[in-house]
């Protein structure tokens, strides 16, 4: 009898101890977790609440609960729909162009030649350049029709001076952003190519396979997860492209380069319509999640491998 009592006491003590150890184990994680939840997740919840209100900082009327009216307005707002369209066009072209340009450069750099390290270092540098600085210099030193180097080049080859920013605003943003993100794609794709086992290529060569065959049939399938990962990460960052738009075009002309992030910014900090801005923000959050979560699932294999998860 007493022995049974003793053991049950010991069991509860052990349970209590394991509960304490459980929290002792979680303790190191908590500061970071709480910090991230408070600063990045809580605002979304508050945004959802604001998005149901009619709330303009300029008007004198107090905020008032209007249910989903901001969302209905968003759907019938031509500029908002245009912003979704622009985001889709700009993001997809930047992702594709970055993967293609970065992939070509990586293919070239994944060979032995003199000065390869220097070439690699020079080619990845655009990624580090501060986006605002890059945009500002491209605007004055490169895209400018009178003084920019691009205007001079087009003049020399006989197609005249093109005012890039006002004639092709969306293209200028795509080119500038692609310039920076193809350097990023280069980094990842080159790492992917270097993880390709050289023995395989050698064996194929011994078997008489052409280099093109090795590249298409062996290298490309090996690279596939890396290409998907690059696409996901570039899309994730470029969805929020802001600096290039703010500096080059201010979202214009006629909202032709306004993406969702920029439209939220305009509504909140130029029109001071916090209710509408919050509704736009919520919709862009859902769109981003609808886009990136399936992609994350696709590439989660490579994350598991890398993180040994």
């Amino acid at each position: 009898m007493s022995s049974i009592l003793l053991s049950s006491n010991a069991r509860t003590a052990r349970a209590r101890r394991s509960f304490a150890t459980g929290w002792w184990n979680r303790l190191p994680l908590l500061p970071a977790l709480i910090f991230v939840i408070l600063v990045t997740q809580l605002p979304f919840v508050i945004t959802l609440y604001y998005s149901l209100q009619r709330w303009n900082l300029v008007s004198t009327t107090a905020p008032r609960f209007v249910w989903f009216r901001n969302f209905f307005n968003a759907v019938s707002d031509a500029v908002f729909l245009k912003a979704i369209f622009n985001t889709a066009v700009m993001t997809s072209s930047i992702v594709i162009a970055s993967v293609v340009v970065g992939g070509l450069l990586a293919t070239g750099l994944n060979r032995e030649f003199r000065g390869r390290t220097i070439a690699r270092t020079l080619a990845i540098t655009p990624f580090f350049i501060m986006p605002v600085a890059a945009a500002l210099f491209w605007k004055t030193g490169i895209y400018d029709p009178t003084f920019g180097i691009l205007g001079w080049i087009t003049d020399e080859i006989g197609i005249g001076r093109i005012n890039w920013i006002s004639q092709y605003p969306r293209l200028t943003i795509i080119i500038l952003t692609t310039w920076q993100w193809s350097a990023f794609a280069l980094l990842i794709l080159l790492a992917g190519m270097q993880s390709f086992p050289p023995e395989v290529a050698e064996a194929a060569e011994v078997d008489g396979a052409s280099r093109l065959y090795v590249f298409r049939r062996l290298m490309l399938p090996h690279l596939r997860p890396f290409i998907e990962l690059t696409g996901l990460l570039v899309a994730m960052y470029v969805l929020e492209n802001f600096a290039a738009i703010a500096i080059l075009t201010n979202g214009g002309p006629a909202y032709s380069t306004t993406n969702l992030s920029y439209y939220v910014y305009l509504e909140a900090f130029s029109s001071f319509d916090l209710g509408r801005a919050s509704a736009f923000g919520m919709i862009s959050l859902w769109l981003a999640m609808a886009l990136t979560i399936p992609m994350l699932r696709v590439v989660s294999g490579i994350f598991k491998e890398g993180g040994r998860a």
Binding site: R26, T40, T47, L105, F137, W138, E202, F303, A309
Partner: protein, 273 residues
């Protein structure tokens, strides 16, 4: 790779690679070159490749309030990066070395926060910062940059911790060292190079960040906001813009070159080594 006889095709490919590389670098080279020109030379037609260089623009950088923005940039970058590392090391420890239950979900929660557009949270962040009187301060930027970089740092540091050989932890167990000692005295020294590149990468992101800086601060702000003010001057200061842009990019480019080896790992959340 095996050494093969250099064929014309190889030479051709090398030439193409160099051309591509130089095209990538030309805008930067052009910017550096422009920064040494007089304003007249900078806007001359056709563009001048040879000119008498001048250091005037670099001298003039400090004439306006560049110094105060640069100081704020340095403070925000250094402090936020330091907090990130201090919070990320224990978190990565709890997700790798002594994993908590459901650690996989926690990891994917962290990465998913990076996929959500910050624009969707900017209104509440702005209003909360205003309520606490934090608008236009370095403090608010330190807070938001810390949370922006934490997920990346946790994933990256975790990928370094995973590589520590199992024997080390067994030895610690035998030794009977406590958790804190295990982390500070054994694990941190082992992953020091990894921590350094994690810090460099976080610093680059904090240094370059624009959206949060321009929305939450105006006069007490970082260098991207300072640069943005040149926008209103148009062509008058092409060379001056180039000089400022060159100067403020030197730290990040150097950091990027230094971190080159672990950069891929950081940028892909540890997925690609």
């Amino acid at each position: 790779m095996t050494r093969r006889r250099t064929s014309y095709f190889d030479l051709f490919l090398t030439a193409l690679t160099w051309i591509g590389t130089l095209v990538m670098f030309t805008p930067i080279a052009w910017m550096i070159l422009t920064s040494f020109k007089t304003e007249q030379d900078a806007v001359s037609y056709p563009p001048k490749l040879f000119f008498t260089p001048t250091l005037d623009h670099y001298r003039r950088i400090f004439e306006n309030d560049f110094a105060s923005f640069a100081t704020a940039s340095i403070i925000v970058t250094v402090v936020s990066t330091a907090i990130v590392i201090i919070l990320a090391v224990p978190a990565a420890f709890a997700l790798t070395v002594r994993p908590v239950p459901k650690w996989r979900d926690v990891l994917f929660f962290f990465i998913s926060t990076k996929m959500m557009p910050i624009a969707a949270g900017i209104v509440p962040i702005y209003l909360v910062a205003r309520a606490f009187d934090l608008l236009n301060t370095s403090t608010v930027l330190i807070i938001v940059y810390t949370s922006m970089n934490l997920p990346l740092a946790i994933w990256m540091i975790r990928s370094f911790m995973v590589e520590i050989p199992r024997d080390v932890f067994d030895a610690v167990e035998v030794d009977g060292a406590g958790r804190v000692r295990e982390m500070v005295q054994i694990i941190v020294p082992l992953i020091k190079p990894g921590l350094a590149s994690t810090a460099l990468l976080c610093a680059i992101f904090a240094w370059n960040e624009f959206f949060l800086a321009v929305n939450l601060t105006t006069t007490v702000s970082t260098l991207p906001v300072f640069l943005q003010k040149f926008l209103s001057f148009g062509q008058l200061y092409t060379a001056q813009v180039a000089a400022v842009a060159t100067l403020i990019n030197i730290p990040v480019v150097v950091a990027g070159w230094l971190a080159q080896k672990s950069l891929t790992r950081g940028l892909t959340f540890g997925a690609v080594k």
